[in-house]
Amino acid sequence: MRQIEFERRFGEQWAALDQWIAVHNGNKTIKDRPPVSAVPWLYRNVCHQLALARERRYSPQLTERLHQLVLAGHHVLYAAPAPNREGFLAFLLSGFAREVRAEWRVVWLASLLFFGPLLALLMAIQIWPDFASVVIAPQDLAQMQTMYDPENERLGQRPASTNTEMFAYYVWNNTRIGFQTFAGGILYGIGTLFFLLFNGVYIGAILGHLHQVGLGPQIWSFVAAHSALELLAIAISGAAGFKLATALIAPGLRSRKLALVEEGRIAFRLIGGAALMFFAAAVIEGFFSPLIIDPREIKYGVGIGMWLVLLGYFCFAGRTRGA
């Protein structure tokens, strides 16, 4: 078939597909367009015609035109499906926990690397108080100390606007730390390792120091409620980072490139869940944690409850019976 005949015969189909794509991409001026049901058929045809045009060496212009059409069609037809609310809910209710359980190796690794130094320093400082200033600069420690001084304890009465500000700050800062921990995984896990250890040591040292100087009640009652969400979220971010690292270090039978993409998908779900946890933690930390509640035991209770609920969630949610 000669080119002109080819164009004449199929030109209508091209125009139709073109129009439909234009409409799909938001051009509202076009009135008549092919019904949606005809589009896959049209698209397949145009693909076929592109292959023919290339095979028959029609002019470069025509080939390029068809190529553009196919490219645009490809983009529309293979576009992302609309976000699925049910899928998201299912992820929250069970999928995330299941994912965390499935990746128990990296989760445990990250948890050990994070909680290990944290607890170790917490203990060590009770025995050797000076150890705190080895890890953290003394002026920082002093600043922390004044922040939680009972003299300054108006946290409970602080206005709503301060709560809001602190909430935003926690979202901005803590989630970023989580993201960094995750992204560091691409450096063969070194970044993740560093951030986990660093945060473990830092948090452990601060808590240990404050407790040691006798600010225990203030600090623990402040930290209790959001600690579960926040600390576990850091560990899970680390686990996500280590997923990337495993793809690089031990890709198995896949190429590193493919392994990265595949593990990256899992890692993304982990970090996504962790980000939501950070967010939830920020809500609690901003609005609930600063409240002064008498007796303090109530807040401890809430904290312990959160830990139990979260651990229960990660251990059990989404398990099918007998599985």
């Binding site: 609690i284 609930f288 609920v309």
Partner: protein, 519 residues
């Protein structure tokens, strides 16, 4: 060297795409490229560093100033490699005389003002043009590509800085008490005091940076230049037409191909060749190229080199402008720019009292929302856990149990108080089928309403058995199996069991009751 051997895909590319091709060229021929680079660069840089050991910034500035020198070696490697004749290091160094012959001093002098250095380099170094012809040539080539060439230079300068600061950053990561060299971060001297602050380490980092970036920069410029010529001269078509002619009349075409050999790549050896003739794309050239064809190749022909360059001719320029206004050479693009939006801050300042009240209200709102969110988080977590313990499958929302199933009314109200008794009564009046139906309905009602079994619309008898199995004890299960078995026979085989069995079923019905099941 022949156009046929070109190792690139020839097509006219939009500006940045050509630069990208250049970067790919640098990657592809990395080995010869960098070995040539280091062979030239290291001695120079090393010598300068030693010479100005006390003033490392002077070494850096001199190395920077000498960039055109190394660039020429890079360009030499590239221009050969592109035509399938990648030179060895020995070849490259051996060709130094040619490489440095044309216009090096000029380049060194003008490098301060030349913002499209890498793009202009081929004109000077490969085409061997200087003075007014070179200027005219640059102007013609650069009419559309010039912007990209300048952009490339500016971006590459920044890339060098990125590398330098990146290296500083790396150094800082490992920096403990040992201070090696002055880093930018811990220096308290004012920033304009660069001369003082610049340490040996900065020079070193600078050397690394240009070693990494410069080959890409030169390749990018070269690719822009090549792309320009593809656009202006349609090399790709030339190549294909030559092949066509060769097929049709081999001997004739050979001659043609030979006499029109492309002049750039053999370049430094033959750059004096016929360069000005065919490159100008000017209307004046018709006669010249025709006469070319009749002449033997003029590799060492001085006559060609001395030919006056006519690019400044007005018809040519007019021609060039016309060509360049073709859509092929760049298209008009709509550019959206950010415009300053008038802030309405004054408005908010107007009424402080109202505003602060408003802000407080917003904050309160945030607080309330946050508490609700906390509550929601807790509830959701508890819910997820409870769901597990209750063994409810996720994603199915609890619905009230159906009143009708398989067309049978099964809600408790529709059934008689004492199901077996009613069934027996029916049996007595000869309504066998109805009696079994009642028992079946009773059993289903029991399962669905008392034991909360979930049955979908499409469930068959087999499904009922399967679903009931985990809920029922052994005795009720076997009863249910028999009941459903008999029911199936009645329903689908129209086969009625004898009365005695039905009575048996009525008697056994109580085994279905929960009290029995729990025992």
């Amino acid at each position: 060297m022949e156009l046929e051997k070109i190792a690139l895909v020839l097509r006219s590319r939009q500006g940045w795409e050509a630069v990208d091709l250049g970067f790919r060229m640098a990657m592809r021929w990395a080995r010869p490229l960098w070995s040539a680079w280091f062979a030239v660069f290291l001695p120079v840089a090393g010598a300068l560093t030693l010479a100005f050991y006390e003033q490392p910034i002077i070494a850096a500035v001199l190395v920077w100033w000498l960039k055109p020198l190394y660039d020429r070696y890079l360009l030499f490697v590239l221009s050969r490699a592109v035509f399938g004749a990648t030179p060895t290091l020995r070849d490259t160094l051996g060709a130094s005389r040619q490489i440095l012959a044309s216009g090096l001093i000029w380049s060194l002098l003008t490098r301060f003002i030349d913002f499209s250095r890498s793009f202009n380099l081929p004109v000077v170094a490969l085409e061997g043009q200087r003075g007014p012809p070179a200027r005219a040539r640059r102007k013609l080539l650069g009419l559309r590509a010039g912007g990209f060439a300048i952009g490339l230079t500016i971006v590459c300068i920044h890339f060098e800085w990125v590398v330098m600061y990146g290296l500083h950053g790396l150094a800082m990561l490992f920096e403990t008490d040992v201070q090696w060299g002055a880093t930018v971060a811990d220096d308290t001297r004012p920033w304009w005091d660069t001369f003082e602050r610049w340490g040996l380490i900065d020079t070193l980092f600078y050397f690394v940076a240009i070693s990494l970036i410069e080959p890409f920069y030169v390749a990018g410029g070269f690719a822009l230049y090549l792309n320009r010529r593809v656009m202006l001269e349609a090399w790709d078509i030339e190549l294909a037409l030559k092949r066509l002619a060769a097929r049709y009349a081999p001997t004739l075409a050979m001659l043609v191909a030979f006499s029109l050999t492309w002049h750039v790549a053999p370049a430094l050896a033959q750059d004096a060749e016929a360069m000005p003739e065919t490159e100008s794309a000017g209307s004046m050239r018709l006669d010249a190229s025709e006469s070319d064809r009749d002449k033997p190749p003029c590799a060492a022909d001085d006559e060609c080199a001395d030919a006056p360059y006519e690019a400044v001719d007005t018809p040519i320029r007019r021609e060039a402008h016309r060509i360049l206004s073709e859509p092929d050479f760049g298209s008009e693009r709509e550019v959206t720019r950010w415009k300053r939006i008038e802030s309405d801050a004054e408005e908010t300042n107007d009424n402080d009292l109202q505003t602060s009240a408003f802000i407080d209200a917003v904050a309160e709102l945030f607080r309330v929302i946050a508490y609700l969110a906390i509550a929601a988080i807790v509830v959701a977590l508890l819910y997820a856990l409870l769901r597990y313990w209750l063994g409810v499958a996720p994603t199915i929302v609890t619905k009230p149990p159906p009143a009708m199933l398989f067309g049978l009314a099964i809600d408790p109200q529709s059934l008689p108080e004492d199901v077996p008794a009613a069934a027996r009564a029916m049996l007595a009046t000869g309504q066998h089928r109805e009696a079994i139906s009642l028992l079946y309905r009773g059993a289903l009602s029991n399962l669905v309403h008392t034991r909360r079994m979930r049955i979908s619309k499409g469930a068959t008898e087999g499904d009922v058995l399967r679903l009931a199995k985990p809920m029922l004890g052994e005795a009720p299960m076997s009863y249910l199996t028999i009941l459903i078995g008999i029911w199936t026979q009645i329903a689908y085989a129209a086969r009625m069991p004898d009365t005695a069995r039905i009575v048996e079923l009525c008697d056994g019905y109580s085994s279905l009751m929960p009290s029995e099941a729990n025992a």
